[in-house]
Symmetry: C2
Subunit: 273 residues, 2 copies
């Protein structure tokens, strides 16, 4: 017989396990970010925690809606570009039909602004009780996620302040995207975003290790506890290409070795010319 | 005899009450923002809450420190410009010796970036117990302070996501401030900041009213409780020009009447031409 927390956790895991191209969630992307999967699996392996939403960090270009209030997401606001992956970031602005202009609206209320944003990792974790929520909150704060907090019903939000929020243009009367910064400036903030992503993934890795060290390894593993939730759901993550902690470690090690090898080759090539 | 929370509250109030030009706090400004004083007084009038830090919202231009990590505040990072007040915002960039250039560093790691930021209201409130913290958190969330959270020891952080975070330049090798956006762009983001301030103060006002309605007016007033803290400290706020709730209401009413009168005059003048 499952207790109330275990029942909720099971329902959430059922939802996550069927998430995919055929069953999109409410986020603009519709599926869970690949970079979050390892930490989601780690957190969900603990019987007293379950992840309820996540974003591994992203760059987005957002056209604001018709304004009643600032940065409104309703009223026809829409994403012009979104990526969670540095792979898709280079030259993103060349894929958008921007008209580069030197005109500015006199106020952001008058027109619909276009904003370039870098948003860092955010994780929401439902905990079984106050003690679990406090523990997770402390671990996150100590990893530098200084904007974290505990909400109602032991929901912990893990947040950091790595960000960019840059007005780059507005919607013209003829519905064109007017860009009042130069392409070189867009290139520069894109480069800054690469650095932000790097910092962001470093912090994600630190958080992973801290949760593993100070929470998972210090707790009774959920397998030893009475069968609170369906282990087969975890297996169904894996069958969809989700990594276990061990698989992730192996992949990271392999990637590290490959990069080292590539670096050596590049160095050798440079020395021989 | 004071309980432990009341003792801590008293110590914090002692600190606040002597804060001023001769006794600066740790913030870059060194004193409490005028715009926060009414809500600080309101919150501190409740026996189960005390404000521990506050910023009413600000525009700042920040030169990053020598980089080991991103957006480092240590290592010689410094503010080039800070204001909490729209009065000081217009044409701020004309007071800084910017050299407008069209060159960009290839990465933000290489140089010390100059960032233009709008940061919204943030309030930290220490509560007596979980129940008080939950209540304050709920009120803040319902006012749209969606990044609020409860930390350890019933400390509530009240935060919203109104922001700007714009790279505008870097420190040249010759220690000059190189600005790679145009003066017109600086003017534009300054205008956007006026709108952000407006939205920010609207939310501050909403928060004030909600705390008053759902917390203060529904609680026993602290005067009726056993004398937990020194009332004379509250008087010392007033002697420094701090407003009581009643004084603030009277001033707002007066200002409203004056604005109405001015609007009527302007309308009459327009109609007579």
């Amino acid at each position: 017989m499952q207790d109330s927390f275990a029942q909720k956790k099971q329902a959430i895991l059922n939802d996550i396990s069927t998430n995919g191209p055929d069953n999109l969630d409410a986020s603009p992307k519709g599926t869970i970010d690949e970079h979050c999967i390892a930490i989601i699996n780690l957190i969900n392996s603990h019987r007293d925690m379950v992840t309820t939403s996540s974003c591994s960090g992203r760059v987005s270009v957002y056209l604001e809606g018709i304004q009643n209030k600032l940065v409104s997401k309703g009223n026809e606001g829409r994403w012009i570009f979104v990526t969670h992956d540095t792979m898709n970031l280079e030259d993103w602005y060349k894929t958008i039909d921007f008209q580069y202009v030197q005109e500015y609206p006199s106020s952001s209320y008058e027109t619909r602004s276009i904003l370039y944003k870098f948003e860092a990792l955010i994780l929401h974790v439902k905990c079984r009780n106050q003690s679990m929520a406090n523990k997770l909150y402390s671990v996150a704060m100590n990893c530098g996620f200084r904007e974290s907090g505990i909400g109602s019903n032991y929901n912990v939000a893990i947040r950091t302040s790595i960000k960019l929020d840059v007005p780059i243009g507005y919607l013209g009367d003829d519905n064109t995207y007017r860009c009042f910064v130069t392409e070189n400036y867009l290139k520069y903030i894109t480069n800054v975003s690469f650095d932000r992503f790097k910092e962001n993934f470093k912090k994600l890795e630190q958080l992973y290790q801290a949760i593993e060290k100070y929470i998972i390894n210090l707790s009774e593993p959920s397998k030893d506890s009475n069968d609170d939730f369906d282990e087969s759901k975890c297996k169904s993550f894996k069958s969809k290409g989700w990594e276990s902690i061990e698989e992730r470690r192996a992949r990271m090690r392999e990637e590290g070795l490959r990069k080292k090898e590539e670096l050596k080759k590049a160095k050798d090539a440079a020395e021989s010319t």
